[in-house]
Symmetry: C2
Subunit: 204 residues, 2 copies
């Protein structure tokens, strides 16, 4: 049986808070891209801690990527290997050109097989380069960095394109084994969820 | 001095959970639109409770709307009256046509002056109608509904367009006075935040 880890909201909050200093120092992001739905909560929390006094909030753009293909009959989601786009940035509008020359922080909840993150980085890089060419702005350097709450220490199916990102631009707040992570936003009984987390001795 | 209300993550979780049944019965949404950044957390939590066994998750599309214009020097955000789009749905791709004929649930954290919600409903309705005309799908009925965690009982500057939405399609989990709502994702000390919430006698 796969080990389960119960993560509380306050733990997620503190994981974002404790990572913010390193993100500011090492990545210095101008913009976040939240991979939905898992990246929504950490991105929103992180925004509070990345705000510098006197500066506006760092904007968040959301993209929708799904690795899970529901078959319509199985109540348990099966992990897939194919990434489906449910939302993307608008190439023709300002959304994509807004990325040019920026430090872009991609945010998700978990790095499991890395398939989704590979897709996100590769496709964003490709589209930004295309926008740079179209606009004659090839000289501006766009960087990508990644923040996830949890990285699972396991063999990855996906690989981050080295031309876009290197190890020093990757931050996981926690590295865990190949366990089942129960996030609070999926809990049907949040008090029982918190109790199970306490039992595991996790700091609340 | 304006009264402050401290809302914990678990309270937000339960507000979403307790609203899900009415949302399913009355709105029966096929799709959520989260107004970022405030709508990200409630939309992600709500998705868990709107999922029916055997059905796929209800997709979330994010839009970015900002009512606050930072002046760059004041560390406290001043509410503005102008809505700025930071992300929108792509009219030319599937994103907007995906809305046609659907029951669309718009999700945000708070209904304060209603300016943002008015903008979201009016502009989404306009763009969906345009997409329907272009695609010759005028016969399909698209409905809009709204869910917010908190509605402030005050005179509203914005008005929801009656052609798109009526009162029965609006749900606030809680109605409060014209108070300052402290959401947990803005807390710099989450334990102090929770303590202040307990002191107010709020159910945890």
């Amino acid at each position: 049986m796969v080990e389960k880890i119960y993560v509380t909201y306050n733990q997620v909050h503190k994981l974002c808070q404790n990572s913010a200093e390193r993100i500011l120092n090492d990545f210095n992001p101008n913009l976040m891209i939240a991979i939905g739905g898992g990246g929504y909560v950490p991105a929103r929390i992180l925004r509070s801690f990345l705000k510098k006094p006197g500066n506006p909030n760092i904007p968040i753009q959301a993209i929708g990527l799904s690795l899970y293909e529901s078959l319509g009959t199985d109540p348990v989601e099966q992990p897939g290997t194919k990434v489906t786009r449910t939302q993307w940035l608008d190439l023709s509008s300002l959304e994509m050109s807004n990325l040019i020359g920026k430090n872009v922080l991609i945010v998700d909840e978990v790095d499991d097989t890395r398939t989704t993150l590979e897709y996100a980085v590769r496709e964003l890089q490709k589209d930004v380069e295309e926008a740079q060419r179209k606009l004659g702005r090839e000289g501006e350097k766009t960087t990508f960095s990644i923040f996830v709450l949890h990285n699972k220490d396991k063999k990855k199916k996906g690989e981050l394109p080295k031309s876009a990102i290197n190890e020093s631009m990757y931050l996981a707040a926690v590295t865990v084994g190949d366990v089942w992570i129960c996030y609070p936003w999926e809990a049907t009984d949040i008090e029982e969820h918190d109790r199970l987390s306490r039992e595991q001795g996790g700091e609340q």
